[in-house]
């Protein structure tokens, strides 16, 4: 994998199953995104908020990384509007980290607000997807990931 390029999503081997971390405070949306990703042959871990996501990514000091090295996350997909830490704030934290900054982060939102979209793209988001999520959205995502 080329260093310094967050647009290089190439998997390390053709047999790798993408491991996606999906973050959303809404239970129904979590279940939906999980199924959509599983149907696209992804391994999925879900988190209900930003801090939990950071914990799972091993980005909190002293926090427990509950995923071992072999389960390295290939993609983070997060809702924008979450109480406490927003998806944007989560994106920033991931992009600021030395370990995880290459991981593509996709932002989902039910609201189509250009300033919001631009803000996220400027911060290094790979893509911005409008909710509700559909199969075609996820297919597009995973195709790029597996390219």
């Amino acid at each position: 994998m080329a260093a310094g390029s967050s647009s290089n999503w190439v998997m390390e081997s053709a047999h790798d199953v993408p491991h996606v971390l999906a973050v959303d405070d809404n239970l129904i949306d979590r279940k939906l995104v999980e199924k959509l990703l599983r149907n696209s042959s992804c391994k999925v871990t879900t988190a209900e908020n930003g801090p939990r996501a950071l914990e799972l990514l091993g980005l909190t000091s002293g926090g427990q990384n509950t995923m071992n090295d072999r389960s390295k996350v290939n993609l983070v997909i997060t809702d924008y509007c979450m109480p406490g830490m927003t998806g944007y704030e989560l994106l920033k934290k991931i992009k600021e980290s030395s370990v995880m900054k290459e991981v593509p982060v996709v932002i989902m939102s039910s609201e189509n607000i250009p300033t919001r979209i631009n803000k996220c793209m400027e911060e290094g988001a790979q893509m911005f997807i409008l909710k509700p999520l559909k199969q075609s959205d996820v297919k597009k995502l995973t195709c790029q990931l597996m390219n």
Partner: protein, 153 residues
């Protein structure tokens, strides 16, 4: 055999009517397409989660708005909290394709933003009504599907 065909036709017609009358939109089709042998109950599971979540949120909305509580004068209504709950309901209803519920939630959010108490009270009534309708209809739909599975043996 004839009975099964009848049931299937009824299901098709009933489903079509739900779309025609705006209770459901294309997102519900998305849910159905996601269902497969690895998860044959997916739609029922997600919709059931929606019912539970919606009922919880409607309760919260009532509590926040109910001025019959002695210490809840209209001046102390927490519109931010109201909006947060409506936002959740708006999201889940949209994700399962419950179009009418979703539409009322949009109006409801506007009322919250305007801090319009009358508007909020009216919207709450509307969203309760639409939720109750779509719940009944989806339960009917699931019952019909179950009947077909049983008739098909």
């Amino acid at each position: 055999m004839d009975g099964l065909v009848q049931l299937q036709k009824q299901l098709v017609d009933y489903t079509a009517s739900l779309f025609r009358e705006g209770f459901l939109d294309d997102q519900f089709n998305q849910l159905q397409q996601l269902q497969d042998e690895s998860n044959p109950e997916f739609v029922v599971e997600v919709v059931t989660l929606f019912f539970e979540d919606a009922e919880r949120l409607l309760n919260e909305l009532s509590k926040t708005l109910d001025s019959s509580f002695p210490n809840r004068g209209q001046a102390s209504i927490d519109f931010k909290k109201l909006d947060a709950h409506v936002h959740q309901l708006k999201g889940s209803s949209s994700s399962i394709g419950a179009q009418r519920v979703h539409s009322v939630c949009i109006s409801f959010r506007n009322s919250c933003e305007e801090q319009n108490v009358e508007g909020c009270l009216k919207n709450l009534q509307q969203v309760r009504h639409e939720y109750s309708l779509v719940k009944t209809k989806l339960e009917t739909l699931f019952r019909m599907e179950k009947q077909i599975l049983e008739a098909a043996g």
